[in-house]
């Protein structure tokens, strides 16, 4: 693509200190995100997939600078957001919003929906009082809720409706990028599909770019254009969505795909067994981080960390199996 990507992530790293001992000294670090790079183009949905502890949520927060990174850079429209002043960052956040997993915890229970939705406008100084009012009603309509709802409090809504409000709040400032961290995992299937359809419609209507963080590969296939698979702070595979499902390369991606239960009892699948548990991120394995659980582990995997390589145009994998 010739146009500039909306977001470019270069060698992003984040370590969290482990505090312990008598005076709460630092006794070690957790490598939550360990040198990941990717680009996100305008108008696409880029998904980060992985199991708990793989660093996908931390990455999401790093992209909005809700965490300060240990290293690397995030270029938003060509500018490194980590060099921004506090004021400039605040203004930039108008263009980058977040939708959270738990619609019960991410809405202030003491505020009406109107107040929740108007707040981003006040913070960014957008519009007059009248215009803000109109905007609230318009956005409520867009996410499929009635304008009478604005006088109510979050507890008066179901989980699905609350998630709609969370999405409405993210839309208030007309952002370019929305980072959605497991936006449908807390919802029932029948509600989940409503919210996913809504997100797809909104993407077209407002020309949004999504970073979609999820552990559910079924949901991810429906919504994504491209997918990055993460394991223990590393990105192990990155590809076009359809190609990833058709021909996964990394042994971890294969295992992950084969583990998803399919709602069809006639399907009998070859399941790739995965050995043991996730290693501790504070003491990651040497070489390839997946080698302790990999069924195709070779000698080299134990000592040398595989580099991300392009296997086919647009399909990247970090695995020694694809070295030649």
């Amino acid at each position: 693509m010739s146009s500039q990507p909306l977001l470019q992530v270069n060698d992003l790293r984040k370590e969290f200190p482990i505090k312990g001992g008598v005076f709460g000294r630092e006794i070690g670090t957790v490598q939550a995100v360990n040198g990941i790079s990717f680009t996100v183009n305008k108008g696409e949905t880029f998904s980060l997939v992985g199991e708990s502890g793989c660093g996908k949520s931390t990455t999401g927060k790093l992209l909005l600078r809700l965490h300060e990174p240990t290293g690397g850079e995030v270029l938003f429209e060509g500018e490194n957001i980590y060099t921004f002043s506090k004021e400039k960052m605040r203004k930039t956040r108008r263009d980058m919003q977040m939708v959270f997993q738990d619609p019960f915890a991410s809405l202030n229970p003491r505020h009406t929906i109107e107040k929740i939705l108007t707040e981003p406008l006040i913070v960014h100084g957008i519009g007059t009082k009248e215009e803000r009012k109109e905007k609230v009603e318009h956005i409520l309509d867009v996410v499929g809720m009635r304008k009478e709802h604005k006088k109510r409090y979050p507890h008066q809504f179901s989980g699905g409706q609350r998630q709609r409000i969370g999405i409405a709040r993210a839309l208030m400032t007309n952002p370019k990028l929305i980072v959605a961290d497991e936006p449908v995992s807390a919802l029932d299937v029948s509600i989940q599909s409503q919210v996913l359809n809504l997100m797809k419609d909104l993407q077209q209507e407002f020309e949004l770019t999504y970073i979609f963080i999820s552990h559910d590969l079924g949901v991810v296939r429906y919504i994504s254009d491209r997918i990055g698979v993460m394991y223990l702070g590393h990105m192990v595979e990155l590809s076009d969505s359809e190609e990833l499902y058709r021909e996964p390369l990394h042994p971890y991606t294969k295992t992950l795909l084969s583990a998803v239960p399919i709602a069809d009892p006639t399907v009998k699948r070859e399941r790739i067994e995965i050995k043991g548990d996730l290693p501790s991120p504070s003491n990651p394995p040497s070489g390839c981080v997946f080698h302790t659980r990999c069924n195709a582990c070779m000698d080299i995997c134990k000592v040398e960390k595989p580099k991300m390589k392009q296997f086919r145009p647009g399909h990247y994998v970090a695995c020694h199996l694809y070295n030649d």
Binding site: D188, V189, I191, R271
Partner: protein, 338 residues
């Protein structure tokens, strides 16, 4: 069928008594669990699947919850009439349960060994050594390594998947006839979920323990269950063997639910979704509870509660549409016979 059901639930009704009066959580719940089978109860939040399982175990928080009607037979005995002492003998011994949260269902202050042995010693007058050996044997059965070391470990030293294995070991340690698993894999990652489901299947085959698996995930049901019970807003709407339910669902809710799942095997253009939300318990006084969200509703559905029809052998549906089809079928057989 000549085989006697191991667990028989008949017209179970459980209510919660709140400031606003009695709110029925589940009603007309009837189903059987036969020896050695895996039955799935599937439903969304608020469908009453967990209330059903807690009612069977006698673990409902009382007050406010109370079983207000029906019978539950275990091996032919109505356990709803048991007093607390009798019930305690049944629980863990004949009926055992595992929960969703393996993090909170183990006591953090006691070692794994201590908690496993406690479960045996409560039900048996065994010497400690025998209980210890039994606990180690169970850890081996659920596929945990380094048994001796694990016996002295505390719950926080284990991962989520390992804790769920310990929970399963604890539930099975007295050889129960029925294991109730309430969302056993919901809190786990997919790869670990696959391991635990495999373990549940193996145990069912090896020990012939009947399993009542409660879940919201139809994928899990398709993977392990032989029969499925679908619940919606406190009632059973459909029951059948797993192939019938997935290939020939009759209730509009079951159909909608199956269509709502994003299929990992293909890219879907648009997801089907059931409009609206689950009604609040007790808010639907008459008629079908799925009326407000149903895409094939008829005027009579608003007023008349649909009965629970048996369409074919072992396939039951609570929907008026089935009656219509049944009539037509009957009529067509009459015409053909003429």
């Amino acid at each position: 069928m000549t085989i006697k059901p191991l667990l028989q639930v008949k017209n179970l009704k459980t209510s919660f008594f709140t400031d606003d009066g009695e709110v029925p959580a589940v009603e007309d719940i009837s189903f059987n669990v036969y020896p050695g089978e895996i039955v799935g109860i599937v439903g969304e939040s608020g469908s009453g699947k967990s209330v059903t399982s807690l009612s069977i175990m006698g673990l409902l928080p009382n007050p406010p919850g109370k079983v207000t009607g029906g019978e539950i037979y275990l091996n032919g005995k109505n356990i709803l009439q048991f007093n607390e002492k009798q019930m305690r003998r049944v629980r863990g011994n004949e009926l055992a349960m595992i929960f969703q949260e393996p993090m909170t269902s183990l006591n953090p202050l006691f070692t794994i060994g201590n908690q496993l042995m406690e479960a045996v010693l409560i039900h048996n007058k065994w010497p400690k050594k025998k209980a210890y050996d039994r606990a180690v044997e169970m850890l081996r059965l659920v596929g945990l390594p380094r048994h001796e070391e694990l016996m002295n470990a505390y719950p926080h030293e284990l991962s989520g998947g390992m804790r769920q294995r310990v929970m399963i070991a604890m539930a099975l340690i007295c050889n129960p006839k029925v294991l109730i698993a309430d969302e056993p894999t919901t809190a786990l990652d997919v790869t670990i979920q696959a391991q635990i489901l495999q373990l549940i299947k193996e145990i069912n085959e090896k020990l012939k323990t009947a399993v009542l698996l409660i879940t919201h995930d139809l994928g899990v049901v398709a993977e392990v269950c032989e029969r499925v019970i679908v619940m919606y807003a406190g009632k059973i709407v459909e029951e059948g063997d797993v192939h019938t339910i997935f290939q020939n669902p009759q209730h509009p809710y079951t159909k909608g639910l199956l269509q709502s799942i994003p299929d990992i095997r293909k890219k879907e253009k648009r997801l089907y979704s059931i409009p609206g939300t689950v009604p609040k318990p007790g808010s639907v006084k008459k008629g079908c509870r799925f009326y407000s969200r149903c895409n094939v509703r008829m005027p009579r559905c608003l007023h008349d509660q649909p009965p629970y029809y048996t369409t074919e052998e072992n396939h039951k549906v609570r929907c008026w549409l089935v009656e219509k089809e049944g009539e037509e079928r009957e009529q067509s057989t009459i015409t053909t016979s003429q």
